[in-house]
């Protein structure tokens, strides 16, 4: 086996700065945004296929999740009173700017869908809002992949070809998990389908991410830029997430007649998605702290 390239650094100091995002706010923001966006997808699909009870649950979870997501974002700002400055400009070169505008557009629509559902007011407008939220929801669930990959953190940045699919899958399995947890098995068939598609997408996309990053030039003998995802605390968190995703996937398929098994599978998928987001966040932090991940691949390509 080729040993890892020797490298020098300035007293072992990191080259890039670690993100200043708080270790709870941003993973919560990523998880809740995914849960909200994919819940709107589930709500629209369930409503149109006549699964009214599941649609209601999904609309309410979308509103709850996007509210918590926005709260986490504002809480994380250094100067929260200036949140509104996010809407001073629109910059496609800034995923944070794109996300703020998406949030500003999506929040009220998802809110209208949930309020109309719960109060029974303006049902036609409610249906339109449900479909509108279903349309913007996918962007809300996936843009956060651009948010973390558009940085100089090598394990995030170099994973930009796979991360959006990991996030889409993780978001779907979270929303489907909440649906399975809340709905009667007879009404839960759309959630079950979304759970299978989402969990499978997440597991496969994460494997592809690890495979690409493992082959980082200069770091062949360790796990390359995949190391932060498989080692240390982040590695443990992601491994547990993977097991819970697989368990949730199995439970969703096998437990279609049992309320208890479905609920357990749903809870497992929800927890898995939260752990996945937290693990990916922590992996990026660990990657930023070690100059090896920045210097060696750059030296190898130079």
């Amino acid at each position: 086996m080729v040993p890892d390239a020797e490298f020098t650094s300035y007293y072992g100091r990191p080259v890039i700065k670690e993100p200043v995002w708080k270790p709870l706010d941003v993973p919560v923001y990523l998880f809740m945004g995914g849960l909200a966006g994919a819940s709107s997808v589930l709500a629209a699909g369930s409503q149109l296929s006549g699964h009214r009870e599941l649609a209601r649950t999904a609309k309410v979870s979308a509103l709850g999740a996007i509210s918590l997501s926005a709260a986490a974002l504002i809480h994380d700002l250094g100067r929260p009173g200036r949140f509104v400055n996010m809407l001073r400009v629109f910059k496609p070169s800034s995923p944070m700017s794109v996300g703020s505008w998406l949030l500003a557009g999506y929040g009220p629509v998802a809110g209208a869908a949930a309020v109309s559902e719960v109060t029974g007011l303006l049902p036609a407008a409610g249906t339109a809002a449900t479909l509108g939220a279903g349309l913007i929801g996918p962007a809300i669930a996936t843009y956060t992949a651009a948010l973390i990959c558009d940085t100089a953190v090598p394990s995030w940045h170099e994973g930009y070809r796979e991360m959006p699919y990991v996030f889409a899958g993780s978001a779907s399995s979270a929303a489907a998990g909440l649906g399975l947890l809340a709905a009667r098995p007879a009404d839960a068939s759309p959630a079950r389908k979304l759970a299978v598609a989402g969990a499978a997408t997440e597991l496969v996309a994460k494997q592809l991410l690890i495979r690409r990053l493992s082959a980082t030039p200069g770091l062949e003998s360790s796990k390359g830029l995949a190391e932060p995802y498989v080692a240390g605390r982040a590695g443990t968190v992601l491994r547990v997430g993977e097991i819970l995703t697989a368990a949730g996937l199995a439970g969703a398929v096998l437990g279609r007649r049992s309320r208890a098994v479905s609920a357990l599978a749903g809870a497992s998928l929800l927890a898995a998605s939260a752990l996945t987001r937290y693990g990916i966040f922590e992996a990026g932090m660990a990657c930023a702290r070690d100059p090896k991940y920045t210097i060696v691949p750059q030296r190898a390509r130079r």
Binding site: V15, I16, K17, P19, M86, P164, R299
Partner: protein, 268 residues
Amino acid sequence: MSIDPAARAGHVDHPPRMGFFTDTSICIGCKACEVACKEWNEVPEDGISLSGMSYDNTVGLGASTWRHVAFIEQPDPASDSIRWLMSSDVCKHCTEAACLDVCPTGALFRTEFGTVVVQDDVCNGCGYCVPACPFGVIARREEDHGAHKCTLCYDRLGAGLEPACAQACPTKSIQFGPLDELRERARLRVEDLHEAGQDSARLYLDDPADGIGGGGAFFLLLDEPEVYGLPPDPVVTTRDLPGLWKHVAIAAAGLAGAAVALALGQRQ
């Protein structure tokens, strides 16, 4: 062909692009640049302690350290003693600046001099610029929660003065001027050093074809960039953003497709 960043940002009839050429071969490690920068820009004190890293006690660039002098003691192959490398680091004022690209508020902007500056009254402290910078330059200050970095003394430039660090540098290791002239001067300096037997002298971030479109601040180094804590081949993260958005769009379309598939699914 080098890009004119001020013109690209919409400045018409703008002055020539101004920058720094830091020639580390004549740096004596006096830290006058650090002090002058702090004094002029009223940058707060950020810890007075010993780091154990040779004479370096500021450790690296940060929200309250806009010039940082690195000290490296190495065995000198030419003699039995040590070789002492000293280098004053600063914001690179990249031609393609990731911090500016990702800033969601427009607090970071491109000046008429082609430099990159934070507007403190606009910054909302989101911190996105911090991990975007490939050099780890910009950072958030604990006290006011805003992002801060070198402004290349935007106020002094406007008044026809040179930046405080360049003015204070006693050996002209820090040179300020129009970037074109600095690049020419740097090329001649490297040639001189090579002729004098300093084979390890090389320019860093002088090339408009590099991953950041060349630095508005560039350097003459006597060893590999990473020895000084600099990345060997930095690339602005937003170069891959079109590809990244493409994958986000495909993933989002897949999710929207899931909604349609569920809608068309078996009715209850």
